[in-house]
Symmetry: none
Subunit: 399 residues, 2 copies
Amino acid sequence: MKIVIFIIDGLGDRPNEKGLTPLKEAKTPTMDKIAEEGICGLMNAIDIGIRPGSDTSHLAILGYDPYKVYTGRGPLEAFGLGMELKEGDVAFRCNFATVDENFKVVDRRAGRISEEEAKELEKEIDGLEIDGVKILFKSKGYRGALVLRGDVSDKVSDGDPHKEGEVPEVKALSEEGKKTAEVLNKLLKIVYEKLDKHPINIERAKRGLPKANIVLPRGGGKVPKVEKFYERYGMRGCCIAGTALIMGIGKMLGLDTYEINEKKMSVEERAKIIIDKIKKYDFTLVNVKLADEASHDGKYEEKKRIIEEIDKLLNIIFNNISKDELYFVLTSDHSSPIEVKDHSADPVPIVIWGKSVRRDDVKNFDEFSCAKGSLHWIKGEHLMRILLDLTNRNEKFGA
Amino acid sequence: MKIVIFIIDGLGDRPNEKGLTPLKEAKTPTMDKIAEEGICGLMNAIDIGIRPGSDTSHLAILGYDPYKVYTGRGPLEAFGLGMELKEGDVAFRCNFATVDENFKVVDRRAGRISEEEAKELEKEIDGLEIDGVKILFKSKGYRGALVLRGDVSDKVSDGDPHKEGEVPEVKALSEEGKKTAEVLNKLLKIVYEKLDKHPINIERAKRGLPKANIVLPRGGGKVPKVEKFYERYGMRGCCIAGTALIMGIGKMLGLDTYEINEKKMSVEERAKIIIDKIKKYDFTLVNVKLADEASHDGKYEEKKRIIEEIDKLLNIIFNNISKDELYFVLTSDHSSPIEVKDHSADPVPIVIWGKSVRRDDVKNFDEFSCAKGSLHWIKGEHLMRILLDLTNRNEKFGA
C-alpha cells in the first residue's frame, strides 16, 4: 500500500470581507472530488494556535517532533546541499560575500558569483582544521553551508551583519560556545586571507567584479539525532519539492529528493515527475510552493489562480496512478493569509483519500467545508500514525 | 488590535428532563448574534473531564498552566488584597476570630469586625519577625491574608478548626514544613497575647461584642514564579470582576483590576465600566459571577433570568465599542449544573468574534449549538494562542 502526502504550501487563508478565501473561491473540481470521496477535517501541523515555519510543519507532518529535531536553518541548509552530517556537528547557512580591506561587507552576495567559481573557492575552505575542529564547506553559487565538526557548540552569534557593514565578531552566547566562537573568528580571517588573493578573485577584480573573499555564517544549529524515515517507518520514501528548505528536510530524513521547478515546468512536466515517483516509491511527499509565495506577496487573485493550476496538476496525477493500493492525503503545512502576508496558526483543510477511509458528508475542499468533516481537528503528529494504521503498518500496543 | 474575553462564570449546564438548560431556554438575542457572526465551539478550561475551580480555570484560559502556578487559595487571597509578594513566600487566607481563654473558637468571624477596627489590629501582626521569618499581614474586615517570608514551606496544616472548636496546633505535613509549623504556632500565641488586651478589643468587650483576638490561617500555598501578563503577551491588560478570587488572579498576573458589584450596580452602570476599560486597554478580561451563584443555589429560573440580564449587558457593550480592531470572546470558565449545585467538567460554549475568523453555521449561543461549530472542542490553553495569532502577535516557530 502506497502513501502520498501532497502539501500545498501556505494554502489556508482567512476570509475576506465577502467571507471568501482564495481556496473557497477557486474552481477546484479535482480537490472537491477527493474531498467528497475521502474523510475531511482540519489540521494544525504543530498544535492549535502555533504558527509554524514550513520546515517545522513538514517535520511535524512527517511525524518528527520539531521541538526535538529542529535546531535552526543551518543543518537543513547543509542537508539540502547534500552534505553528510553527523550528530553533534554544528552547521551554518552561509553567503559568499565581498568585504573591503576593513572587513566591511560591500556586497552580501559577492556579485552573485557563479556556481563554477564558487566550487573552486570552496576547496580553499572545505577540509581546513582549526584547533582540532574540522571545517566542512559546500557551496551552491553564492549560497553555502559551513559545518564544524569536533568539540563544538551552536551557542554562538552569527558572523554576518545581515546587511552591508562590518563583519561582526562571532560571540559566545554562553560559556559552552566560547571555543566555537574563537574557531569561527579564526576561520573568517583565514578564509579572507586565502580567498582575497585567490586567482579566481584576482581574475574577477580584473573584470571589475566583486571578489568573493569572505563567507558569512548565520543560523547555526547543532545537528540532532534523527531516525531516518526508512528506519522509523519501513517505507522507501521520496520528497518532491521546489525549495532548498523542503529538500533539506527530505535529505535530513534520508528521503530521496527530486526537484520540480514550478515556475519553469509546465503542469504536465511536473505531473510526470510526481506520477513516476509515486509509481516507484512506497511513500511520496510532494510540496508545491507557489500558493505560499503569492500569500507572502499579498496577491489574492494570484493565489486563487495557482490553486486552480494545482487542481489541474492533481487531476493529471489522479488520472494516471493506480488507486487500488493508495492512500492519498491532500493538505497544507500552514495557513498563509493574504491579510497577514506570512504564516498563521489558522488550521488547514485536510482530506485523507483511500479505499477504506470512513467517508463523510464534506463535498468541497476548503477551510469551511472541511471543518465539518469526520476527521475533526487533528495535529500533524497524528497524520503518519493514521496512515500507518490505514495501510496496516503500525504496531499494536497491548494484547 | 484589541482582545476581550468575557466570561460568564458557571454558565454551562446539563439538560433538565425537557432537554433544556438555562442558557438554551433564555432569550439571548445578543449572544446569538455574536455566535452567528463568529466561530463557535466547546471549551474545557483545563482539560476534558477536569472539573475546575474558577481560579484554576481563569489561569488556564489566560494561558497559564494551573498545575504549575496554582498553589492554593492563600497566594490568590494575598494578591487580591494587593500585597506585594515574592516568589517563595508562603501565603494563607485568614479570618479574624474570637477565642476563649482555652483557645476555643467561639466566633469564626469575630462578630464581623469592621474594616477600620481590623486595620488597627493588623498593625500588631504585620511586620513581626519570628525565628528569622518575616510576617506580613493585611486585612479586609474579618478576612485577611497572612504571608511568611524567609526559609518557609507550605507543607503545613491549617491553623483553623473550620468550625467552632479548639484552634488546632499547626502540624508539618512533611519534614520540610517543620520550621514553618513552629513559627505559625508561636505566631498564633503572640497574636492572641497582643490582640486580646488591645484597646480595640477591650472596647469591643465593653460593648458586648466578640473580641477579634486571633487569626486563623488556612489554604497555605507557596507563591509561584509567574511571568506577568504584560511580559508574556506584550499587551496592557485589565481584569474586571466582582469577586476577590478573580481579582486576585488578575493582580497575580499584573493586570489592572476593576471591581463591578453586580448586585448593586445597574446593567447600564456595569456596561459603562466595561466599555471604558475596553477602550483603554489592549486586553480586557471580564468575569460576571451571578449565574454561578444561582447554580450553586440550584436556582434554574434565577440562572436563566441572570443570563438574560447579561445579554442586555452585552448588547449595550456591543453597541458602544469600536469593532474594527477587536476580537471578542464570549465563553465561561466552567459549567455549574443546577443538578450538581457546584462546578462540573461539562464543556462550555465558546464563540470567537472578529473580522477574520472563519464563520461557521452556528446561530445560537448554547451548549448544544456551539458543539457543532468549527472551533470544535478546545482547551483553555489554546485560547490565548489562537487570539495572539488572530491579532498577529505570535512568534513563528521555524522558517
